[in-house]
């Protein structure tokens, strides 16, 4: 019977995986079509001042925009698996697989750009995630246990401040009054990348404040969410049953209340984290971090760099749908009622 269950689970996971893959393909096609509809011509943008229709046409060919959208997309997919050469003749650039494209404004393979930007975004997301989960959840539990008392009121002030202050305000305040005031980071070094494995202190110096800034509003939301979940669960009948058994309050909280109260938080946390892996545009902008967020916003607003836009959109959406899958599977492990259906 156990094996049968395992097989069923495997079947479910593979079905979901196929569905996820299909979704990612759909997203990639959609990005190509949307870009085709935009009233901007990248071929004209990279044209010099003495622009002639011939040069624009040549640029269009160079950028791979002279073929139908679907073919552009197909070449992109091929490039992902086989690598791709952009342009021809003397000015050809070859990017090895997985080739997300070639950025003419930056004269770099997009894959290389991602390789540089992703560790920054990952550091920011991981650091913020760790901060907001530890602060938000523990503060929420504390507030629920001390409902109506000082700790609860103090935490509700925190929630109010955290949720109402937008990140661009907190970010600027942090930079102005903490980072620069106390001379913690040289303004010129703000946003410099440091490898956490070889230079953990440098990494902390570069990333602590951005992470804290990004984590603030999340921590506030999670505090409120945890508090209400714990309070709600505490009044469940099965908590009274646990008490009637003679369990101590400590065991009831740890084993019975938190188990039920935190399961839904785990799923939301997974999705929030995945959302940040696509890049945190505002925080990266304020602290001058060269992550995926900054990379995509530059490509969208300044350089109309299709390959970069496609790559960042695809990465962000892939993280989301894959995390969705992970969260669903995780929830099945957490809640036996979900496992059945």
């Amino acid at each position: 019977m156990k094996i049968e269950k395992g097989e069923k689970m495997l079947k479910y996971i593979s079905k979901r995986l196929a569905y996820t893959l299909f979704l990612i393909l759909l997203v990639s096609i959609t990005v190509f079509f949307i870009f085709d509809l935009l009233p901007v011509d990248p071929a004209r943008l990279i044209c010099s001042k003495q622009c002639t229709p011939q040069i624009v046409e040549a640029n269009r060919h160079k950028l791979g925009l002279d073929v139908p959208v679907l073919e552009q997309w197909w070449r992109f997919i091929q490039g992902l698996f086989a690598g791709r050469t952009y342009g021809d003749g003397d000015i050809a650039f070859t990017c090895p697989a997985p080739a997300f494209g070639y950025s003419y404004p930056r004269h770099e393979c997009v894959t290389t750009m991602i390789g540089k930007a992703f560790p920054v975004t990952l550091s920011l997301a991981l650091g913020a995630f760790a901060l907001w989960i530890s602060v938000g959840v523990s503060l929420g539990i504390l507030a629920a246990r001390k409902k109506g008392k000082f700790a609860d009121r103090a935490s509700s002030v925190f929630v109010l401040v955290g949720t109402s202050l937008p990140t661009f305000i907190t970010g600027i305040l942090v930079v102005l009054f903490i980072v620069l005031q106390f001379n913690i980071v040289n303004p010129l070094e703000l946003g410099d990348w440091a490898n956490p494995f070889t230079d953990p202190f440098g990494w902390l110096k570069a990333f602590f404040f951005p992470c804290a800034t990004l984590a603030l509003s999340y921590a506030a939301t999670y505090t409120r969410f945890t508090r209400s979940n714990v309070i709600e669960t505490s009044s469940e009948d099965y908590i009274r049953t646990a008490r009637a058994k003679g369990l101590s309050e400590k065991v009831i909280l740890r084993k019975h209340t938190l188990r039920a109260a935190l399961a839904p938080i785990a799923t939301i946390a997974g999705l929030d984290f995945a959302g940040l892996l696509g890049g945190a545009i505002i925080t990266e902008g304020i602290f001058g971090l060269n992550g995926l967020g900054k990379m995509s916003i530059t490509a969208v607003l300044e350089t109309y760099d299709l390959p970069v836009i496609v790559a960042t959109t695809l990465i962000a959406s892939t993280f989301l749908v894959v995390m969705n899958l992970i969260v669903d599977i995780l929830y099945a492990f957490l809640d036996p009622r979900v496992r059945q259906s």
Binding site: D237, A242, K245, G246, R259, A263, L334, P336
Partner: protein
């Protein structure tokens, strides 16, 4: 003679912005090992509230409790109302257990039933988790769950309502408690399942020589299993007697009203079902005099409007038959007999 549990003048109040809700008011009852006491009353009559106080399950922050509830243990008497909360906690699950009305929500949805029973067992027994699960399986077998060896690993949502209540009973009895408080254990169940659960409780009582307090508003349930009955109204015990006395010779107008309002197959001839007029009293402002007087059809038989002014005491009107009423037992029986004759 002292009984196993003796509750004396137990009062439970909840302070609210509108005033103190007197949910239980000088409640006294007792139950001995091997005996079943049924506590009967409508919603809000204080039957659950007083028993939750016995279990020590009220939140001390928003509850005022006075009086005493003494457990006469072999090691000596313990008053659970005044005892240290930690002492009372160590009695819960071991000496006294409780099962609840809604078995659908009383079990933790995330743990298997075996885990939940084993958890209760391991609180008071030395042994591995495996021993606990083995014991859980024994208990499930005992309460009549088929294929207990398989079902011990299943989760509450995989059980029907009746089966879940059996799981609750198994969990409550895993440490052989001397007192089981069953708070409307069959209210949420089908009638056929109700009968099964009640006879199961009866059988287990014989096996373990337990005292059972059965809280219910269902007189049919009371007739099936109770040795003694305490009827509660407005936070007070209004009548206390053996089950037979209560059903056939009740000397309290509220109890008589309750019995008149249910169909009975043991009385020959036709009789009309009568409802009790009016609403239960507000527990914040209890009426002066007898709490039942505004709804009582006998109050007019008493001179000087006494029922509305003087609160009657719970007195022994006949041998081992206590009632709270200004009218004497004989007079009450006469009046109700003549009314039934009409």
């Amino acid at each position: 003679m002292t009984k196993f549990l003796e509750v004396n003048n137990l009062s439970v109040g909840f302070p609210t912005p509108d005033g103190l809700v007197k949910a239980a008011n000088n409640v006294s009852y007792s139950v001995d090992l091997g005996e079943t006491l049924a506590i009967v009353g409508e919603s809000g009559s204080g039957k659950s509230v007083s028993n939750l106080a016995v279990m020590g399950l009220h939140n001390p922050i928003n509850t005022q409790i006075s009086g005493s509830a003494v457990l006469n243990l072999p090691t000596g008497p313990v008053d659970v109302i005044t005892a240290d909360t930690e002492v009372v906690r160590r009695l819960r699950g071991k000496v006294m257990s409780m099962i609840f009305q809604d078995p659908m929500s009383a079990l933790h949805p995330y743990y298997s039933v075996g885990d939940q029973i084993a958890e209760a067992w391991s609180l008071y027994n030395e042994g591995s988790k495996k021993d606990g699960l083995k014991r859980a399986q024994q208990m499930l077998d005992l309460v009549g769950i088929p294929a207990a060896d398989k079902r011990v690993n299943e989760f509450p949502h995989q059980f029907s309502g009746g089966m879940r209540q059996r799981v609750m009973i198994a969990m409550a009895l895993v440490n052989n408690p001397s007192l089981l408080i069953a708070d409307e254990p069959t209210t949420a169940l089908d009638v056929t399942v109700q009968a099964q659960i009640l006879s199961l409780l009866k059988d287990l009582q014989k096996e373990f020589n337990m005292a059972i307090i059965l809280i219910t508003h269902d007189l049919g349930v009371v007739a099936q299993v109770a040795d003694r009955v305490s009827v509660m109204y407005g936070g007070q015990v209004v009548e206390s007697a053996t089950a037979d006395q209560t059903f056939y010779k009740s000397i309290q107008p509220y109890t008589i009203g309750l019995l008149d309002s249910i169909p009975r197959v043991d009385i020959t001839g036709s009789h009309r079902l009568r409802s009790i007029p009016g609403q239960p009293p507000s527990l914040i402002n209890l009426p002066a005099g007898c709490a039942f007087a505004p709804r009582c059809s006998f109050a007019s038989e008493v001179t000087d409007n006494k029922c509305r002014v003087v609160e009657p005491e719970l007195v022994e009107k006949r041998a081992d038959h206590f009632a709270r009423c200004h009218i004497s037992a004989e007079q009450l029986l006469d009046i109700s007999a003549s009314r039934a004759g009409k």
